[in-house]
């Protein structure tokens, strides 16, 4: 009976990757859009929101609410902060995905592509996604206040990632980099 299982899972795996590809082809149909000025403008907006993460996960607001308000307000605050924190983490994940999209746009055309490097990057990206999604799950379960130690580390990473991404975009698309750079400099980058 067990002998049909590998074939069943193989078929299922192929259907899953097919569904993923079709969905991705429809949603991200215009991949060239990555390097357009409109898109860079969006990234500039992301750059200027660096302090938002500090505020969402910082203890100041929570300490104030804990001290000055009844438990009902505390519950509302906690619930709303969780929603905000999740949105912020998803934005962080999107930023990293944009870095990977910029990379694959370069890699798919070059004949100097290094297979070992590509495999390492793919593995690294998958591990990052797993970790980031776990963090999202953790915030969803425990709320942003109890998770702030974990997220503080993420904040440091976002700052360094933003600086590195700026350098990357300066290479890939130097014409539009100045617009982006201005946006990045509005936040505090800590490499």
């Amino acid at each position: 009976m067990i002998q049909w299982l590998p074939y069943f899972f193989l078929g299922l795996l192929l259907l899953a990757v097919l569904a993923w590809w079709v969905w991705d082809a429809i949603v991200h149909r215009r991949t060239a859009e990555l390097l357009t000025p409109r898109h860079l403008l969006d990234l500039r907006q992301v750059g200027s929101r660096r302090d938002l993460g500090d505020r969402i996960f910082g203890p100041q607001d929570w300490d104030f609410v804990l001290r000055e308000t009844p438990s009902q307000i505390q519950r509302v605050f906690h619930r709303e902060r969780t929603v905000l924190a999740l949105a912020w983490l998803r934005r962080t994940r999107t930023q990293t995905s944009q870095v990977m999209s910029a990379h694959v746009a370069v890699a798919r055309n070059t004949e100097h592509l290094q297979i070992g490097m590509e495999l390492k990057l793919a593995l690294s990206y998958v591990l990052f996604l797993i970790l980031c999604n776990s963090l999202i799950g953790w915030v969803w379960l425990r709320g942003p206040v109890r998770t702030r130690k974990i997220v503080r580390q993420t904040l440091q990473w976002v700052a360094s990632q933003r600086a590195a991404f700026g350098r990357l975009m300066a290479v890939v698309d130097p014409a539009n980099h100045r617009v982006l750079e201005t946006g990045f400099n509005q936040g505090t980058t800590q490499s």
Binding site: Y7, L10, G11, L15, V106, N109, F128
Partner: protein, 253 residues
């Protein structure tokens, strides 16, 4: 009766697709795919002739021609491979490496089986043989689609249809044949209907996607990008490793 309807509908769809490709003169753009489609149509008509005039020979004829159709199916994979990757030198390098690895693994398995005597478990029936051929096709298609998705290779509607329809059919075949080739399950009519239904679904996808010719999008300018691959990949690697290390540190707090 239901099987008859499926069979005639599939034949009609195949004739329609072939006629449309001749009328639109785009059969030359996808020669291997239309060769596959034409072969399956001829096989289907031959089966009908054998079933009508020599019904006793039909079961054996069915499985031999099924084996033939599965073999010709590799032509579709070749078509997909050449149509999707030919303009993307980076992706073609990765694809070649991975497909060669799969080929080497299959050869190694066969040789190791022949030497040890335990062998590659030989197909006890034609259904099992076809199942193994389809399983290998599944692996090849999995690699191709994963690369298409990961590298976001832009392709036209025609090729999306060929990949989608054929992959759906192969995936369903592997599952149906894996289940159906078990002893005791062969006589169940449910799994026998799965293949014609899946094939008809694939034909519907092809009819929609290949009704008119849609060329693959041209890759954009790349001269500057080409030169900076090493720098870009090093930057990406650094970003990802730092991201992972920070998140890991966070998890330990």
């Amino acid at each position: 009766m239901f099987t008859q309807i499926l069979w005639w509908t599939a034949n009609f769809a195949e004739v329609l697709l072939l006629a449309r490709s001749i009328q639109g003169k785009f059969f030359r753009r996808y020669p291997s795919f239309y060769f596959y489609l034409g072969s399956v149509l001829i096989v289907s008509l031959l089966r009908f002739a054998v079933f009508t005039f020599r019904p006793g020979s039909y079961p054996a004829f069915f499985w031999y021609t099924q084996y033939f159709a599965a073999t010709v199916g590799y032509a579709v994979i070749l078509e997909i491979y050449s149509q999707t990757f030919k303009r993307y030198r980076g992706v073609v390098r990765i694809a070649n490496a991975l497909l060669l690895f799969i080929l080497a693994a299959v050869i190694l398995k066969i040789v190791a089986g022949a030497v040890s005597g335990s062998g590659w478990p030989p197909g006890e029936t034609m259904a099992a043989l076809e199942r193994d051929m389809r399983a290998l096709q599944s692996v090849l298609l999995f690699v191709i689609i994963a690369l298409l998705a990961y590298y976001k290779v832009p392709i036209g509607r025609n090729v999306i249809g060929i990949v989608g329809g054929y992959s759906f059919y192969v995936a369903t075949s592997v599952m149906a044949l894996g289940f159906g080739s078990l002893p005791g399950f062969g006589s169940r009519p449910a799994w026998r209907s799965a293949l014609p239904i899946a094939y008809l679904a694939a034909l519907m996808i092809w009819s929609f996607a290949l009704w008119s010719y849609h060329a693959n999008p041209e890759p954009g300018p790349e001269s500057k990008i080409e030169r900076d691959y090493k720098y870009v990949s090093e930057q990406t690697r650094r970003i990802l490793s730092r991201a992972r290390s920070y998140l890991k540190m966070g998890g330990e707090l």
